[in-house]
């Protein structure tokens, strides 16, 4: 579904991503884990075409994405939930979800049924549909950010640290939601610092250190790996 090959990204002179390759197959949850500054966010931004790589190729659904603009990615079925939620704070919950459906041709019936689906998944959002997104709690904002991305009916969902800054109960809830989104047929590329939780819901994972992949494999194997345990799972 998604192949990234030999990707290099520079910020000016900083070589942030150093020749990374990975792939995500249909129906999988794949995690990128790594410490602060490892380059996780940069990779997601590059995959969704919001940052231009200095070299390397990105293939999505068998097509080369070299000269594709970010809007096209959304239309083709890739949705990106950016780091730090980034809801439209002065718009209401419902308006945020409407913006999520922006890339799709207007179809009222389809839109309403998608909206219903999101509200069933996130009942909290339904209660607050007329409320300004900026006044939601952190967890609610994360749900809204995910809901907004789902409104574009993605085949692949990129999630950048969805559990960041949330209380443990909410972290559980968010990970459950991610699993259930995956079960209903959406492929997921997940970026997390919470390696433990991420590995437990993932099929496969890549471990990043300062712009390089240092380890990869099945999530259940990585959980048992001693190096990983020491570095990311707290011993």
């Amino acid at each position: 579904m998604l192949q990234v090959e030999n990707l290099n990204v520079h910020y000016g002179k900083i070589h942030a991503i150093k020749g990374i390759s990975f792939d995500v197959k249909q129906g999988e949850i794949v995690s990128l884990i790594g410490a602060n500054g490892a380059g996780k966010t940069t990779i997601l931004h590059t995959v969704s075409k919001m940052i231009k790589p200095s070299s390397g190729s990105i293939t999505f659904k068998g097509q080369n994405m070299s000269n594709v603009v970010p809007q096209k990615m959304v239309e083709m079925g890739m949705a990106h939930v950016p780091e730090g939620r980034r809801v439209f704070s002065q718009m209401t919950v419902q308006e945020n979800l409407e913006m999520g459906a922006y890339s799709r041709k207007k179809n009222k019936v389809e839109f309403e049924s998608d909206l219903d689906e999101i509200f069933t998944r996130f009942p909290r959002l339904k209660e607050r549909r007329k409320q300004h997104a900026g006044t939601l709690s952190g967890g609610e904002q994360q749900m809204l950010a995910i809901g907004r991305a789902l409104m574009s009916r993605p085949e692949v969902l990129l999630l950048d640290e969805p559990s960041m800054g949330l209380a443990p109960i909410l972290v559980d809830q968010i990970f459950n939601i991610i699993e259930s989104i995956n079960k209903s047929g959406t492929t997921i590329l997940l970026v997390e610092q919470n390696a433990n939780r991420a590995l437990h819901i993932s099929n496969r994972a890549y471990v990043l250190e300062t712009g390089k992949i240092v380890m990869q494999g099945l999530a259940k194997d990585l959980i048992e790996n001693d190096d990983i345990k020491k570095a990311y799972l707290g011993g």
Partner: protein, 333 residues
């Protein structure tokens, strides 16, 4: 929903016509003198220019500091054009409208070219570019032969009066309102809210930023054209940095993101300095003072991002009446 909109259009349209009739009656009976009529034309021009700037500042979320420059292009562009086609002896209204459109289009094109390099980037580069641009335009006009440089441009037909400037301002506001409430308007506002998120949901941010800014420049040019055809004389130094600051002040005072706020602030900040003639030399001081006071007590401007509406007012007063009614009943118990 649709019905509600229709009703609101009807009410607002009716209010405008009533306002217009009132103005006309007052003018006919000499309650509003020629002098005050002049001030009113300036109010309408400022309404146009400031609401066009509000599109950039309030709805696009980008600061622009060279709106006087766009006014200047529109003013000179439309004036030179109307002087050029004078021989065709068009009826005055047709002459005015074509000249305004030519001036506006010219300004829009230049605005597009100026804005593009700054708007391609994420961040606040527009402020710096427009600041420089406003001054450069003035210097250029001061040195061009065709604009007669510092001597000023004379021989422009005086085609603007209270009536036509009123209706042109109405049309401009209606168009801006429609743009803001369209799908495109939503896209523009989402960029203000969060540029990265806007990109992530599939909005072409560069396109919408350019579009918003170009429209903003276009209407500033229309305002400039009105100014030219009201004054019948243009001096390049009218469009200096202080003029840009004046327009920004109107937007900030009225509320960034509120068109009705801009209208109210235009009336206040145009009429006030004129009424206090002796005070006119302290304009700069007054504006700075107003801005500081606003920043302290009401940083979001008079109306913030809300819009004033007659419907809202009716609803609000109905609620108050209902409440007092309820209270009165409560009192009897």
């Amino acid at each position: 929903m649709k019905n509600k909109n229709k009703k609101s259009y009807l009410i607002n349209g009716l209010a405008l016509v009533l306002l217009f009739i009132l103005l006309n009656v007052l003018i006919k009976n000499n309650v509003i003198s020629r002098y005050y009529q002049g001030i009113m034309v300036f109010v309408f021009i400022n309404v146009i220019v400031a609401s066009s700037l509000n599109l950039t500042i309030g709805f696009l979320g980008q600061l622009a500091l060279g709106h006087a420059g766009f006014m200047a292009i529109g003013a000179y562009g439309s004036a030179l054009f109307s002087m050029y086609i004078k021989e065709m002896a068009l009826p005055p209204t047709a002459l005015l409208i074509t000249s305004l459109l030519v001036g506006g289009l010219l300004t829009g094109i230049i605005g597009y070219l100026i804005g593009l390099p700054a708007l391609r980037l994420r961040g606040d580069y527009l402020a710096i570019i427009t600041l420089g641009f406003g001054e450069i335009i003035r210097v250029i006009i001061n040195n061009l032969k065709i604009t007669r440089g510092a001597h000023g441009l004379t021989g422009i037909d005086k085609l603007v009066n209270v009536t036509n400037s009123f209706w042109i301002a109405v049309v401009v506001i209606v168009i801006l309102y429609a743009i803001i409430n369209s799908r495109h308007g939503r896209a523009i506002m989402s960029i203000r809210e969060d540029e990265i998120a806007a990109e992530a949901v599939g909005i072409n941010t560069v396109k919408y930023k350019s579009m918003g800014f170009t429209i903003s420049a276009f209407f500033a040019g229309i305002g400039g054209g009105l100014f030219a055809h009201y004054m019948a004389y243009l001096d390049p130094n009218t469009f200096n940095f202080m003029k840009s600051v004046e327009i920004v002040t109107i937007v900030v005072l009225g509320g960034m993101g509120s068109l009705t706020g801009t209208i109210i602030a235009s009336v206040v900040l145009t009429a006030l300095p004129e009424m206090l003639r002796g005070f006119a030399e302290y304009r700069l001081l007054v504006y700075s003072f107003v801005l500081i006071i606003m920043m302290i007590f009401r940083p979001q401007g008079i109306l913030g991002r809300k819009e004033f509406s007659i419907n809202g007012l009716i609803k609000h007063s109905k609620n108050i009446i209902k409440k007092t009614g309820d209270n009165a009943e409560g009192g009897e118990l």
